[in-house]
Amino acid sequence: MTHLATLQAQIQQRVLRGDTAIEPQVAGRAQDVALRLGIYEHAYRARLKEALGMAYPVLRECLGRDAFDAVATAYIDSAPPTHRSIRWYGAALHRELRGMHAELARWEWLLGEVFDAADDRALTEADLARLAPTDWPALRLRLHRTVRFCETTTNAVACWQAAAALVPLPPPRDPERLWWVVWRRDVSTRFRSTPLDEVRAFMRLGAGATFADLCADLARDMTGREAAMRAATWLKRWIGEGLIGRGC
């Protein structure tokens, strides 16, 4: 190992774990050296905590500053950053949490992913109007590239909404399984809860199903006419919401 590589490994171990091996390499008196190295140790943790606070603003409010600080400290100790951009630090913070707080963490991270997900053009009703009736059965729809899904079993999303609206948090609720679809329209993030059959339809679209496939899936539980009506109703809503991408 070169002198430079050794020096860098020792500094990094000091910042991450407080190792003292670097100290003889640093100019100055021992007490002063510790003070100077301490600036780097402090800055490292402060910067990561700030990044986590920016990624999880509602979680921080819900937990309270001290509890959030403890969670952030545990996470920083267990997961040194590896990405070039600090924006990606903290994806697995939910592992330090349980119950509603874990789901809230997952939710806030998902919102962040949608915030700067790849841009996409949404399919419009005018695009569909150009289709010939014979094209419909083979029509393959694809989800808008910003679309993400999330499952919750607590009222984490209700808590997030309350905190975002600066109103008191709702009390804990009995477990209730909900699915959410989250997406972006232009630069504004949107979400809504969605029934399980619609989630299944979204998943089928993601796997390359045609409009006829969707109708056939639905027809297992209803008449063919009802299935076609349900699929058409969904499609109209999805187009209106900007959930379907345009082109391949």
Binding site: Q8, I11, V26, I39, Y40, P80, I86, V114, D116, T146
Partner: protein, 274 residues
């Protein structure tokens, strides 16, 4: 990089204010990593800003001095962003940010040795080949210096720029902070740098921790830094000036006023030097 005048660091807090009228701001510096994202609001605003202002990309994660291998995936994403916004210049820091797959997100100091010069210069040449242009390297603030140093900090910065044939971004606040932390004459530091390579000047605020100064970017530019800036503005006449503010960010108008102060000082310094 051509002389752009007087600019500010672009911060999301100011997106709307910047786009909402005409300001006495000649250009903006953008933090590269903030825009290495697939899409959405950051790139939306960046492209709208680019229609109205010259931009310079300023990175924090190149880790040019690290002994870890260069991250070519990162470099290619920087090149892609540069293709998209056509910046006037691309800069990063003369430092390292991590080894062994870790990125500490801190600008860590290099020893002032021949070994470090050779190491950094070889990597800068590779980076410049990938980006297809010369980059600017910024002198960083530091709180430690290493035993076995073979030269002064200014000698190290100058030697790297010559060996790598790169440009320099001179952070005047960092020179002042380091002059206090390590006990050297800041004017001698400026005089040791090659004039033709310094193309940009940074100004920022700092704070005090005990007998040390810390580069916090959370306060207005200090009086002592303004005095040093007068010397720098008279010497580095090809350099564009900008003010960085990353914490306790004031309204845009306050930063524009601070930028006006830089304009006045630079004009006086140039007049006095003529």
């Amino acid at each position: 990089m051509r002389q752009l005048g007087f600019g500010l660091g672009l911060r999301p807090d100011h997106y709307d204010a910047v786009l909402d009228g005409a300001h006495r701001i000649d250009w903006f510096e953008v933090t590269t990593e903030n825009y290495l994202v697939p899409g959405g609001k950051p790139l939306h605003y960046l492209e709208r800003l680019r229609e109205r202002y010259p931009l310079v990309m300023h990175g924090v994660s190149l880790s040019i001095g690290s002994t870890a291998p260069l991250d070519f995936a990162y470099l290619h994403s920087v090149r892609e962003l540069a293709r998209r916004i056509e910046p006037e210049g691309i800069s990063d820091h003369l430092c390292w940010t991590g080894v062994d797959g870790v990125n500490l997100h801190d600008l860590l100091p290099l020893p002032h040795t021949d070994e470090a010069i050779e190491h950094v210069a070889a990597r800068v040449r590779q980076v410049q080949d990938v980006l297809g242009r010369r980059i600017m390297l910024e002198n960083v603030s530091s709180y430690v210096s290493f035993r076995g140093a073979q030269m002064s900090e200014s000698g190290f910065v100058a030697a790297v720029s010559e060996a790598a044939d790169c440009l320099l971004l001179l952070d005047v606040n960092n020179v002042y902070v380091n002059s206090v932390n390590h006990g050297f004459d800041p004017v001698s530091y400026l005089n040791a740098l090659p004039v033709e390579r310094v193309r940009q000047l940074h100004l920022a605020g700092h704070s005090r921790r005990g007998h040390l100064l810390v580069d916090t970017h959370d306060a207005p530019v200090a009086d002592a830094v303004w005095r040093l800036y007068e010397v720098a503005a008279a010497r580095f006449v090809h350099a564009s000036t900008m003010i960085e503010r990353d914490d306790r960010i004031p309204p845009l108008a306050d930063l524009v006023d601070e930028l006006d102060h830089a304009r006045r000082l630079a004009a006086s310094a140039l007049e006095a030097a003529a």
